[in-house]
Symmetry: C2
Subunit: 406 residues, 2 copies
């Protein structure tokens, strides 16, 4: 029997315990022996639940148990998750996590620690919930020169944006509903400001391009400024607004960006609704591939953690992967070219004079003092310079290029 401990019995941690119990037969068959959670660490009590019997409040109980070889870290945050993980790896125990904050901040160091102590640090659940995207990049698309990764990587914001578009809700109401449904946290900043998606695209890009990309270098904008009017304009243009996290290899380097973008139906990510996530990966041999699944929720994310646990239990040795810890500096997005959607309170003549051949001019009855349009394809720097000096610009949103996720 393989003995496992779980640290942090919140949504995902409790899900891990549930999945390992619910699917114990099929897991035992696949592993060759039963996998059982023998200790659960949490500060809270869980009276009357399966957790009660295995609960401990003392991390040392797990660290010092020689029978536990794999530990699940679903505490979230950096403290004390970092210290605990570090100590476990140093003790030769493998750690499987859903904690993207920790992976994005200390992943390189923890992977090195794991390697040095013949243990594994696994983080399939840190990106895309139940979508097996980490393993796909690490194990499957290994013959590829990856050219682009673009995804909807945050279920909360996608739920909010879908709800705003489909039900006509405003941002505050849609956020409140997401909180009531358990999709958004009480302090939703990490989601709605794009920080969560930013960490995830930094992790995926590091694996895709073979070096360490710091999430701090990724230009990130959230969705808090998106309002009903933006959504209505998008609908008129037969588009959706999605929080896209994207990175791309250019001739002279890599750039990355997290931002709300207007995308059309030529882009399959348009069809990804609610809390679902999807990731598009483009390689120079395989072309475009796409991966779709539940990006949030207890069981889907727990399933990904359990997949990692099973891999650790099955394999005695360190799992050989290609992690390069060499830092990759990112290109600025200044030179990236695309059309921009602009809401404008000036005249069409003025807009044409400033941005050239604008198109998709759209007027909404509800907003008689403005109109919306798309600029021609232009470099971000040039567009920003023009827009910054233009008092008629109410706001603008990037228009995703077809190639960005086709």
């Amino acid at each position: 029997m393989a003995k496992v401990a779980v640290m942090g019995c919140g949504t995902v941690g409790a899900g891990v315990i549930q999945v390992l119990m619910m699917n114990s037969d099929v897991i035992a068959r696949r592993v060759g022996e039963p996998v059982e959670v023998v200790k659960a660490l949490d500060l809270r009590e869980f009276p009357g639940t399966p957790i009660e019997k295995i609960l401990t409040h003392d991390f040392q109980d797990i660290l010092n148990d020689p029978e536990i070889s794999v530990v699940v870290e679903t505490m979230g945050g950096l403290k004390p998750a970092y210290q605990f993980t570090k100590q476990l790896l140093e003790a030769g125990k493998s750690v499987c996590t859903s904690n993207k904050e920790l992976v994005a901040e200390y992943g390189v160091e923890l992977l090195e620690t794991a390697r040095a102590h013949s243990a594994n640090y696994m983080f399939e659940a840190s990106c895309g919930g139940g979508i097996p995207i980490i393993r796909t990049l690490n194990e499957s698309l290994t013959a590829e020169e990856i050219e682009e990764v673009t995804g909807i990587l945050n279920g909360t914001t996608n739920y909010i944006l879908t709800n705003m578009a489909d039900e006509g809700k405003d941002f505050a109401t849609a956020l409140k509903e997401a909180q009531d449904m358990g999709y958004a946290e009480l302090h939703p900043e990490a989601d709605v400001e794009g920080w969560d998606a930013c960490r995830k695209i930094a992790i995926l890009s590091s694996l895709a391009y073979g070096g360490h990309i710091s999430y701090k270098d990724v230009m990130t904008e959230g969705i808090t400024a998106i309002d009903d009017a933006d959504i209505e304009y998008a609908a008129k243009l037969d588009c959706r607004i999605r929080l896209l996290a994207t990175s791309r290899r250019e001739k002279d380097g890599i750039w990355a960006l997290v931002a709300p973008m207007m995308i059309g139906h030529e882009n399959p990510l348009t069809a990804v609704d609610g809390v679902m996530n999807a990731v598009m990966v483009k390689g120079n041999a395989v072309g475009t591939t796409m991966y779709y699944g539940s990006g949030a929720g207890s069981l889907p994310t727990a399933s990904a953690v359990c997949g990692d646990v099973i891999e650790c239990v099955r394999k005695q040795d360190v799992i050989r992967r290609d992690y390069s810890f060499e830092p990759i500096g990112l290109l600025s997005v200044d030179e990236i070219e695309r059309p921009f959607f602009v809401r404008y309170r000036g005249t069409e003549t003025e807009a044409i004079r400033k941005y050239g051949e604008i198109s998709h001019i759209t007027r909404l009855k509800k907003y008689p003092d403005e109109f919306g349009f798309l600029t021609p394809v232009m470099a971000e720097k040039a567009f920003r310079a023009a827009a910054a000096g233009d008092e008629s610009v109410i706001k603008w949103i990037r228009r995703g290029k077809k190639e960005e996720a086709e």
Copy 2:
């Protein structure tokens, strides 16, 4: 340096040589050493190509080369691929293949041979071209009780059906074009009769449900009977006809089916056009996941083969996976319930009397002597019994249920 041989330098084999050369730097970085093709087996000559220098006509040259530890089998067919593969595995060399015919027919035996000789038999490229679906089932969704696998698994037939729908071509013309484009073979039976998709769903289902499912047990219908009128009716019903390969776990067993089905836009597989493939996998914890990519073509399929080669080179030991060789008998599809689309030359009254509350009654100007309709949800056996005794039935096509691939 890892030395590899390629047997069969057709579309995929030549692609493998190309990918390993084109991406040699990134592959060497990921593996930790260069991977080079040192021998290529084919009956033909390849003057003036990179293959020329490494070409051999004698299988023994590969079998007896102690430096070659991994061999790519992209010959296709059973003979001599089976004998060659068997001998290589017995010699302790790992074999990576795109040959679904061989995997479906002798996969169980070859996996056992591999295991007995500490070698690996790898077949990521046998299903779904560049889509990493085999590794996803083997390595990622390991904590799942899989409930359903449904996919568009044959690029040729999907190209033909897409072409018929979008360009109004008839089957013969669309097939001819697919042949001219290199998507269909001169003898297209394996594709258009559904045999190729049948082998693939048998392979995927064996991995998903943990036992051996023989392709011979899978009820299979091809697309040769689909005509312009069917396509037009489908369009009127806001549907597409797709060759779906599907298997599902029921309370008392598993059933599988390959058949053209009418599916609506509630089903994301509707959007999979041309030679693209997609596979939907539903698990009891993760819910619905989907995988999309190029299902055919030289480089995408070669990329999947190369991913297997890289895994074999990276890992010294036998790759531990859960293959159960226990045969799984399939349930008949007799009791499976769904609506059926029927083209009918009788009266509506007659149809209602025979099939109950029919819906979506559709008449096309071009075919004044008939109409189309959907039956209510009914068991296949009951529907077949009614239709067999009904001379007014011109033909019928299964209507995919929403749950079958949502």
